[in-house]
């Protein structure tokens, strides 16, 4: 048998498998056009694990409401915008009811626009740019803690700690490192705080001596420093800040929720940062982590597994709310009106939030190289600055 024949057979098998793929009915089809290779893989792969776990749990219990099973179809958009649109179209042609978009805003927009045109609701499991749903339209929903929500939670905490004078460290290289501290500053000032300065850095610059000197020379000295810098910038910054003898408290964002930060030891002691949830004993997140370990045989490595799990819980709640209807319009309406849906990271509310969910923001403090729980904050929706 020649190798061409073998290839021919495989291709034929492939054609048959794709042709028969769309036959089964009576399932809720969720399509995930994720970046499973490329720069989005560290986010979209764990998200997919969380999704898998939630779907398994629901299907093992007989499906949503005990009757409607879920099928997840995945397509790798290879972290490319154009491919995001291609895969989204392919998923829609497979008859999906709900689309899940990649973890970055640009490809999420590309996928969302295709689904918007087809009247299929899209949820972005971990893209955090709050403008995303507004860009695409009324069928696009965010899921992850939006940057403005996180900024608000951190500002609330700063005010509550009695800080008066805040400095933000920003980088214009990404919206996350620029806008998140911006949202923080807005809320902080609105609630009576004062912005001492906004110091800028370039991502990957290694040497922070200029920034540290600038901070040291400020008079009056800031009583808190807030930044959305993450690896490798955050470790470099805080090392140089502390070795310059500046002991000012530092607030960080979920970008530093990683083992690297904990491994910084004494230097990172006392740093407070926000993330999507803290697994305190008996909390839903702790339960999720246990279930994750039981299912995959290893610890959940990041919170994106939990937020991936959350997305499926949102879809489940929406289907229940429609009374089992799975058409795009009914699902869209249902998601838009969800309130206090219990999920792995706490609860989620979409009602009145313009499709950017109100969810718990957990505050963590690093003590002795361990994350300790400070508080779970659900900011007042009215305090959250508009997305820009």
């Amino acid at each position: 048998m020649s190798r061409f024949l073998k290839i021919g057979v495989s291709l034929a098998a492939l054609a048959i498998s794709t042709a028969t793929g769309a036959l089964a009915d009576d399932v809720l089809k969720i399509g995930f056009a994720g970046g499973f290779t490329g720069y989005l893989a560290p986010y979209d792969q764990p998200t997919l694990q969380g999704i898998e776990l939630a779907v398994d749990e629901i299907n093992n219990a007989g499906g949503i409401d005990g009757k409607l099973k879920i099928e997840v179809i995945t397509r790798d958009m290879r972290s490319e915008i154009a491919q995001s649109a291609v895969m989204a179209q392919e998923l829609i042609d497979q008859g999906i009811n709900v689309m899940l978009a990649p973890c970055d805003v640009d490809p999420a927009v590309a996928a969302g626009q295709i689904a918007q045109g087809a009247g299929i609701p899209t949820i972005a499991p971990c893209a955090s740019t709050p403008t995303l749903p507004g860009i695409v339209g009324d069928y696009m929903f965010a899921n992850y803690t939006a940057d403005n929500l996180q900024g608000t939670a951190l500002a609330d905490f700063a005010i509550q700690q009695g800080y008066k004078n805040a400095l933000i460290l920003i980088s214009k290289d990404t919206p996350y490192t620029e806008k998140l501290p911006g949202y923080f500053a807005k809320v902080f000032e609105a609630k009576g705080g004062k912005l001492a300065d906004a110091v800028e850095f370039k991502m990957g610059q290694q040497d922070f001596s200029a920034e540290v000197t600038k901070i040291k020379q400020l008079n009056p000295a800031p009583d808190v420093i807030m930044t959305a810098a993450y690896e490798p910038d955050f470790p470099a910054f805080i090392k140089q800040l502390r070795s310059a003898g500046i002991a000012t408290p530092v607030l960080g964002s979920d970008g530093i929720d990683s083992p690297t930060t904990l491994a910084l030891g004494e230097i990172a002691e006392g740093v407070v940062f926000a993330n999507a949830g803290f697994p305190s004993a008996g909390s839903p997140l702790a339960k999720f982590n246990d279930a994750f370990k039981a299912h995959f045989g290893q610890e959940s490595s990041t919170v994106y597994t939990a937020t991936g799990y959350d997305v499926i819980k949102i879809v489940e709640a929406a289907v229940k709310a429609t009374g089992g209807k799975t058409d795009g319009a009914s699902l869209r309406e249902a998601i838009d009106n969800l309130e206090n849906v219990p999920v792995a990271t706490g609860t989620i509310t979409y009602k009145g939030m313009n499709r950017v969910p109100l969810r718990v923001v957990a505050l963590n403090r690093i003590v002795g190289g361990q994350k300790t729980h400070v508080a779970d904050v659900t900011p007042n929706g009215a305090d959250v600055p508009p997305a820009e």
Binding site: R78, I81, Q89, T174
Partner: protein, 608 residues
């Protein structure tokens, strides 16, 4: 100026054929399919445009550019700014002046404005980049990419900074993408064979040889750079209006490499190769990614494995480069595979005998006190020489005596430290080699330097096209054939220069130099590596050059017999100094010459 200098009929035919090959399947898909395939094909057309655009510069100049994504980024940015609705523009780009904010252009007008603006920017940048050669040019294009990306991010207010530009209208679908892609392919294909394309390809093959026939290589590069930047800007604009959302990071390394991969796989120096590369890579991705979703082979179940596409693609690129370094198509265009498109050149009888060229007007090439010093080392020391038209002057001397340096000082490749060189009353020192060539000095090189991957005909045509900027294509070809005929190699016109035998290559090099209509010719060891019959052959040609064409020849050679037989006068250099000048017999008797060649004791012995 004849239109056919730019629009070569054979290239136009090739372009039309290539466009048809691309257009027909795309149109069929447009009519018959909906769904993801439509997006894939549109994306393919956008990429194809980008690859063809890059090829105009990289393919013809031989310099790989990493910077063309910068032009795509600018194209996307500028065109989107023009087409976005005014209401949306105000919030997205608050700092832009009112007349931009209040106006909205359609796709065609927006493309035109974008391409003109980007072309201007490219021209300014190209003034610097096009002066560089090889890898330093490539690296500077990399710098361009980084600088433009940073500028777009920094210009927040005029741009969206690091954030996504959204709300761009979807104006690119298969028909519009196809029309623009065909435009890019046609321009690229026509450019390749046009006068600037031909001159640039000559420069790509051998810059020193190109200069020796008067080609100003950086200037030709600049033309290609601007054309290619404008087409890249168009590709960027297409991408923006196809995806409807983009941010600066999208036009960065990943896209750069995706485009370069297509170009390298297909064949960088060929427009057909660009098409083949884009088709092949797109098709492979489409096949591979289906395997990635897992499949049921009947006897076994292949699970879903992410990354198959990337791994498979990378392997195929490695294999392609390993087996065919020039890419799948190398230098071939579509007509090489499609005989009906091919025109027979060479061998065809030419009407009548070639018009005998009128002999060069009499005059002299004078070297006056030329000195060339490298630090303390004086390679050429105050040399005075005169070469008259119609004469053969031999230049000999032991190894390292400064012969080649002196030749370089005349040809303009070396700037003399002191002294001057003039033709009649015109001083030629201080001019770059291509200007010296245009002033009437042709040359051949010690190790033959042809435009290896061009045909014999194109080798001569490049020199002719440089000399006569506006003669019609047909006349250019027939004059080139005449020259090949004069050197008895007309039947080889269609052969690639690199495949010719050694003696034929030397003849071609001389034919090419003659295209300049020089009055003087410098020949650096023309007989090196030749056997006796080839040498005799060459002697005949050289004698003909002098007798019929009236040229003045300056010949450097080690073959003493050849020099003695051929030259009326011989100049002898030793340690940079002219130690003898006279007839062969005089020079042979000169004790200083004997000493230089044989050493003092030998020389004394021989005289005694």
């Amino acid at each position: 100026m004849a239109l056919s200098t730019y629009l070569v009929p054979s290239a136009a035919k090739s372009a039309v054929a290539l466009c048809l090959v691309v257009a027909l399947p795309c149109l069929a898909i447009h009519v018959a399919f909906t769904g993801p395939l439509v997006t894939t094909i549109t994306n393919f057309l956008v990429m194809l445009t980008a690859v063809a655009a890059l090829g105009v510069f990289a393919g013809n100049s031989g310099i790989l550019s990493f910077g063309h994504c910068a032009f795509m980024a600018l194209g996307a940015q500028i065109s989107a700014t023009l087409t976005i609705a005014p209401a949306m523009k105000k919030s997205a780009f608050p700092l832009l002046p009112d007349f931009i904010l209040q106006n909205q252009l359609g796709l065609v007008l927006a493309l035109l404005v974008t391409m003109i603006l980007v072309g201007t920017v490219a021209w300014a940048i190209g003034l610097a980049i096009c002066r560089l050669n090889g890898s330093s040019a490539s690296i500077s294009t990399l710098g361009l990419l980084i600088i433009v990306e940073s500028l777009i991010v920094a210009a927040q207010g005029y741009t969206r900074g690091n954030q996504a530009v959204y709300g761009v209208q979807k104006l690119i679908n298969i028909p519009t993408a196809l029309a623009l892609a065909l435009l890019a392919i046609a321009v690229a294909r026509l450019f390749r064979d046009s006068r600037p394309g031909l001159l640039l390809r000559a420069g790509r093959e051998n810059e020193a040889a190109a200069q020796s026939v008067g080609i100003d290589v950086p200037r030709q590069r600049l033309t290609a750079w601007v054309v290619s930047a404008m087409l890249s800007a168009m590709a960027g604009a297409m991408m923006a209006h196809f995806l409807t959302v983009f941010s600066p990071k999208q036009f960065y390394f990943d896209l750069t490499f995706a485009i370069i991969v297509m170009q390298v796989v297909g064949g960088m120096a060929s427009v057909t190769g660009a098409v083949a590369g884009a088709v092949l890579v797109t098709a492979l991705i489409e096949v591979l990614r289906r395997f990635e979703n897992g499949l049921d082979l009947g006897f076994m179940q292949v699970p879903q494995i992410f990354g198959v596409t990337q791994v498979g693609l990378s392997l195929i690129i490695i294999v392609t480069l390993y087996r065919r370094r020039e890419g799948l198509l190398g230098f071939a265009e579509i007509e090489n595979f499609w005989p009906a498109l091919r025109r027979v050149i060479g061998g065809a009888p030419i009407g009548g005998t070639p018009a005998a060229a009128s002999p060069a007007p009499a005059g002299e090439l004078a070297v006056e006190g030329v000195t060339k010093a490298y630090g303390g080392l004086v390679a050429v020391d105050q040399v005075n020489l005169t070469l008259r038209t119609g004469e053969i002057l031999g230049l000999i001397g032991p190894n390292g005596s400064g012969k080649t340096t002196l030749l370089g000082c005349i040809a303009g490749t070396h700037a003399p430290t002191a002294g001057k060189v003039r033709i009649d009353q015109t001083e030629i020192t201080g001019h770059p080699p291509y200007v010296v060539a245009r002033l009437g000095i042709g040359r051949t090189f010690q190790n033959i330097r042809l435009f290896t991957n061009l045909t014999a005909l194109e080798n001569v045509m490049a020199a002719l096209a440089q000399r006569h900027s506006a003669i019609p294509r047909q006349e250019l070809e027939s004059r080139a054939l005449d020259l090949l005929g004069e050197l008895k190699i007309a039947e080889l016109a269609g052969r690639t220069a690199g495949t010719l035998a050694y003696g034929q290559q030397r003849r071609l090099e001389i034919a090419r130099a003659l295209a300049l209509e020089p009055r003087f010719m410098l020949l650096d060891e023309p007989a090196a590596g030749m056997n006796e019959s080839e040498t005799n052959d060459l002697l005949g040609i050289l004698a003909w050059l002098v007798k019929e064409r009236g040229l003045g020849l300056l010949i450097v050679d080690h073959d003493m017999q050849l020099i003695m037989r051929l030259c009326q006068r011989i100049a002898v250099l030793n340690k940079g100094q002219l130690i003898a000048l006279g007839t062969p017999a005089e020079v042979q008797r000169n004790p200083a010459v004997r000493e230089a060649y044989l050493g003092r004791r030998h020389a004394e012995k021989m005289i005694a």
